[in-house]
């Protein structure tokens, strides 16, 4: 076996000649298609990669990407962002969360706005950084506002585990972890996206790279089996995505409908068992979770199990957390974009009133959001 260098794991899957090579193979294979096909990439990381590397410019006209709701910040409803806002402004509370959450606007403002009003909000690279903050501030209540898909859920579970094992008294959790297969099913079931109009019928899925590392590819079995939709689990490098697209087209041309793994070097059928066990130990599925633009998706989110209510900020602060439903900004079509019904440049406020420095909707704020990706990378697409 030839020696693998770390550099190969980057450059090998970004090689421009290989990307161009796949482009040629896809062109050849796509000629045999009897109709225009729409591939939904669920994961925000895929959207980002697709746009950053300009992949739509390399594909024939009969292959179209539909960008799915795989951005955990984008699908966060305003009501829950308001929870974070309200918690942050409580006396003696330090609100801790990851990256992009800082800038997402709720109905009262973003966490960045709360910070400029005097709230103590910290953004961390890892949930484990919360431990240091708690240690340095023993008299404060540290609330970890947890976000992310199945990729990130076990890391929060790990923090819960440490907090309980070490009996740390001043760390609490507000859980907003969501899961992928249920929302994929909703999109397929809703009929809206699956009607005969060429424009937004989903013909196949590109399965998320790193959700699948944790869960294993087994979570997508229902799509080829029940819905007759091929799924190819793809890595997020441009070569991975191109290879996965070729695999999808070949399936369609050969009248196969299967679950395949392109990202073999990191994804297998069963996933990370230990991570899954940690999730299972501390979390259970909540009945409902309102996804921004999509409405309620049953069993698509996690909450802390009842026996951990004593560290559940959503329960402990129930009295002050707002629960009324909030309408989105009138002209914001994030909902349609998240369902793959529209593309960002079709939004009337895209790039004008709504841009990264002044986002109206979540799709523009998060670096994985379709609107942010289009704004930064998508302006030279051949529409």
């Amino acid at each position: 076996m030839s020696k693998l260098h770390l550099e190969d794991l980057y450059s090998g899957f970004r090689d421009s000649n290989v990307i161009k090579g796949f482009s040629k193979l896809i062109e050849k294979e796509a000629k045999k298609l009897s109709k225009h096909i729409n591939i939904m990439e669920v994961c925000g990381g895929h959207t980002h990669s697709v746009m950053k590397y300009g992949l739509p410019q390399l594909l024939p006209k009969n292959i179209n990407f539909i960008h799915g709701p795989g951005c955990p910040v984008c699908i966060m409803p305003k009501e829950r962002i308001d929870h974070a806002y309200v918690l942050a402004l409580q006396d003696n509370v330090i609100l801790v969360t990851l990256g992009d959450m800082i800038k997402v606007p709720g109905s009262k403002g973003s966490l960045q706005d709360a910070r400029s009003k005097g709230a103590d909000v910290r953004f961390v690279y890892s949930p484990l950084d919360t431990l240091k903050i708690a240690e340095e501030n023993p008299e404060k209540k540290i609330i970890f506002f947890a976000i992310g898909f199945e990729t990130t859920t076990p890391m929060t579970a790990s923090l819960v585990d440490i907090v309980l094992q070490r009996n740390i008294k001043n760390i609490f959790f507000h859980i907003n972890h969501v899961t992928v297969p249920e929302v994929m099913e909703q999109l397929v079931d809703s009929g809206e996206v699956n009607h005969d109009s060429c424009d937004n019928r989903i013909d196949a899925f590109l399965g998320p790279s790193h959700v699948s590392v944790i869960t294993g590819s087994k979570i997508y079995e229902r799509f080829p089996q029940k819905y007759n939709l091929p799924v190819v689990v793809a890595g997020f490098e441009p070569v991975d995505i191109m290879e996965a697209i070729l695999m999808v087209i070949k399936q369609i041309n050969e009248s196969r409908c299967e679950l395949e793994i392109e990202y073999k070097r990191s994804v297998n059928h069963h996933g990370n068992i230990k991570a899954q066990a940690l999730i299972e130990k501390y979390f259970e599925k909540a009945l409902q979770f309102k996804w921004r633009g999509l409405g309620d998706v049953p069993s698509s989110s996690y909450m802390l199990r009842q026996e951990y209510a004593h560290i559940d900020a959503e329960k402990l602060y129930r009295d002050i957390l707002p629960f009324e439903e909030i309408e989105d900004y009138k002209l914001c079509i994030c909902g349609d974009i998240l369902r793959g019904m529209a593309k960002p440049h079709q939004c009337s406020v895209f790039g004008t009133t709504c841009k990264p420095s002044t986002p109206l909707g979540s799709c523009m704020v998060s670096s994985e959001g379709a609107c942010a990706a289009y704004y930064k990378y998508g302006n030279l697409l051949n529409e």
Binding site: L6, L9, T151, N272
Partner: protein, 96 residues
């Protein structure tokens, strides 16, 4: 949020349950809470996500993929050469 990135394990601290990983000359610590005991060894390639090691990259599969890509390129190159020769043969402007 940062994507998950391939890194190489350069050190393991069993007591604190952390590994030190290298990403192209930048090193940092990563938690081993999601990996089985002794599953991760120095020299392994792993995926890093928000401060934790998420899995081990299967080197054999990675090498296999890269090999396949190379073969695709070679095949395409060969086909192009054949096409150029074919076009050349049909060329009207050549002297007999």
């Amino acid at each position: 949020m940062c994507l998950s990135i391939p890194s190489k394990v350069v050190n393991i601290d069993k007591e604190r349950n952390v590994a030190v990983v290298d990403t192209m000359g930048v090193t940092r610590e990563a938690g081993l809470e999601l990996m089985q005991e002794n599953e991760v060894q120095i020299g392994d390639y792993v995926l890093l996500h928000i401060g934790f090691i998420m899995n081990k990259i299967d080197e054999a599969d990675a090498v296999e993929s890269l090999k396949v890509y190379n073969e695709i390129l070679q095949k395409l190159d060969e086909e192009e050469r054949q096409q150029v020769m074919k076009d050349d043969d049909k060329c009207q402007n050549r002297a007999p």
